[in-house]
Symmetry: C2
């Protein structure tokens, strides 16, 4: 990714009261939506600087390099900002399944299947 004035971007993004922004992760090739996770400013910095996705885990309360344990990292192809600047869309090439269940995408159940 080209040089960015990342700190000025971070200052202008609309972070939640907890200092987080939701990030939709989409497969750059298949266009499949893989997962939604949260980033804090540091997660966004590391994502831009390393070219791999980092998130903030709200359950573990810690920075999380996606794939650090599983090997299923996500190579960033591009990042988009929505009109309100309160959601990010991250286009990636995944090294493996996005979901901790082993599914390619975390969205592996329809509402109907979830209801069964």
């Amino acid at each position: 990714m080209p040089e960015l004035d990342l700190e000025s971007i971070i200052a202008r993004l609309q972070w939640s009261a907890e200092g987080l922004i939701p990030a939709v992760v989409q497969d750059a090739h298949t266009q499949q939506v893989l997962m939604v996770a949260w980033m804090n400013a540091e997660a966004l910095r590391r994502t831009v600087q390393t070219g791999e996705t980092y998130f903030w885990s709200r359950s573990r309360n810690e920075l999380w390099h996606k794939g650090a344990t599983s090997g299923n990292t996500q190579r960033v192809q591009g990042i988009w900002v929505d009109c309100d600047a309160d959601v990010l869309l991250v286009s990636v090439t995944p090294a493996g399944p996005a979901c901790h269940t082993g599914a390619v995408s975390c969205f592996f159940r329809t509402l109907e299947e979830f209801g069964e």
Copy 2:
């Protein structure tokens, strides 16, 4: 959409402290991610019952039938639930642009463009 035990589904979804769940809206045909908005239980009920998207507007603090004013409704083709049951993915056929700016998708700027 087939009959669902929607109230039992609503009871099992992981709503935020404010009673909301983020919904990623994706074009069923192009696979483009169009927008992310929030649903409360009533927005989800109406979305399922009418086959068009409803959201909860956090800024206006009211239920919002997408396209009620602009005509740019979204016909629901399917709804998916993520592994943690705290995000929905809604596949739609849009009647027009998703974004209030007139853009097809709310994600019309890259992070670089947002930084300019």
